[in-house]
Amino acid sequence: MIKRSRLLVILALALSVMLAITACTGGDTGEDNVEPEEQQEAEDVGVEYPEDQITMIIQAAPGGLSDTVARTVAQELQNDLGVPVVSVNKTGAAGAVAMSFLQGSNPDGYTIGYVPVELSMVKALGFANDVEPDAYTLLGRSNISPATITVRADAPWDTVEEFLEYSKENPGKVKVGNSGTGSIWHIAAASVEEATGAKFNHVPFDGAAPAIAALMGSHVDAVTVSVSEVKSGVDSGELKVLGVLDEEKSPFFPDVPTLAEKGYDITVAAWGGFAAPKNLPKEVEDVLIPAIEKAIQSEALKKIAEERAFTVAYQNGEDFYKFAKDQFDFYMKMIPEMDIN
């Protein structure tokens, strides 16, 4: 009895291996075998880069700003390059899971990813040691959205001075919601404190949307999240923006002053761009970087930027690297000083 069943299993295994092998070499799943050949081709001959599906790793959940930007660019890339560009969401640890995965992928141009401002932050936060601008081939920056100081429409403050004045007179009384301790919007609030001498009570939420809900429900007094996140609340008359943490006025709130105008030189913004693993072959780079630029400058992304209130701010790979590196050095210095633990 035992012998028979064992025989059966061995037979079963042998048969299924055979089946699978024939299936793999014959059928439509040839993809599995194609990859190594292709890689060789890319290295040896140096032509014909996109001939297979490209995977776009997205660090955030579907529906958010990062996801929308990345998917739009993926769609444009697909139209341009003529191969499927498939978006894959891989969330966790402020994007560090996805960025770590991207960093460890094959540098063959078939795995690219969206990288947000956290690219320059997660190492300083101690989330992932292998994630920093130097660990990637940066392909191009796509979008930027500066932080704001936003309060309820019926709040007693009408200008940023009044707000700061009040926070200075009542240190620790003004409750400022952010999207999580150590998140970019927490840093925004902390930078305001540092530059102006005000003192807030920081209340971290699990993302920007809950912080805005808490603001609308009068549970906190202000939030320091981005223009694109507060735009709809301002349009509906629930919220008002007192100031923008940028050098230039936001095109979406042309009447709102920047903090730079008020004499405080603070710029904190969420940005995003596209990256591939390090050591991308030159030939692939030559195809990918112009294609990414075209996708970022496309009408489709412009339209989405208009709707979602962010700015399309293209930088080519080199400039983007310098920018991200600058930010990285800034946060490596700034975050340990913030005493967020």
């Binding site: 299993v9 079963a12 299924s16 089946l19 299936a23 993809e31």
Partner: protein, 147 residues
């Protein structure tokens, strides 16, 4: 034989103890009274230990045996272990070779062990392996290709 309640209670109380132990290294709460990262884990650890002790005492009283392995049919235990083994093999093959191969091997060998008729078994193994690959890879855009 083993008394399930007592063993379960011992394991959970060990988890409780280790949680308390690990939480000691966490930073304290802020000056204005917001509890630190260790606050909840320590409370929960203590609660878990208390409840585990209650469970152990109850287990000693009732003496109910849940895992009477000797009473389980030998055939079923074999199938049980084989199911686990083939899932492990599936994972290894998936990571090292490919999803389709892993899936065909697992489905087919499980089918043999569950004594599904050979013809039916082959059809199921092939249909579901290719079917799920197509569906999840091409329609749902799941990265089934690991290398």
């Amino acid at each position: 034989m083993l008394n399930g309640d007592i063993i379960f209670g011992i394991i959970t109380s060990l988890i409780g103890i280790s949680w308390i132990f690990m939480s000691r290294g966490f930073p304290a709460g802020t000056a204005d009274g917001v509890p630190g990262p260790g606050y909840f884990p320590i409370i929960l650890g203590v609660a878990l230990i208390i409840m585990s002790v209650v469970l152990i005492i109850k287990g000693i009283k009732i003496k109910k045996i849940y895992f009477n392995v000797k009473e389980w049919p030998k055939e079923n235990i074999k199938i049980f272990l084989f199911t686990i083994l083939s899932v492990v093999i599936f994972m290894v093959l998936w990571i090292k070779v490919s999803y389709i191969l892993a899936s065909i091997v697992m489905l087919f060998s499980l089918g043999c062990f569950y004594k599904i008729k050979p013809m039916k078994n082959i059809i199921i193994a092939i249909c579901f392996s290719f079917g799920t690959y197509w569906l999840f890879n091409n329609v749902f855009h799941v990265m089934l290709k690991l290398r």
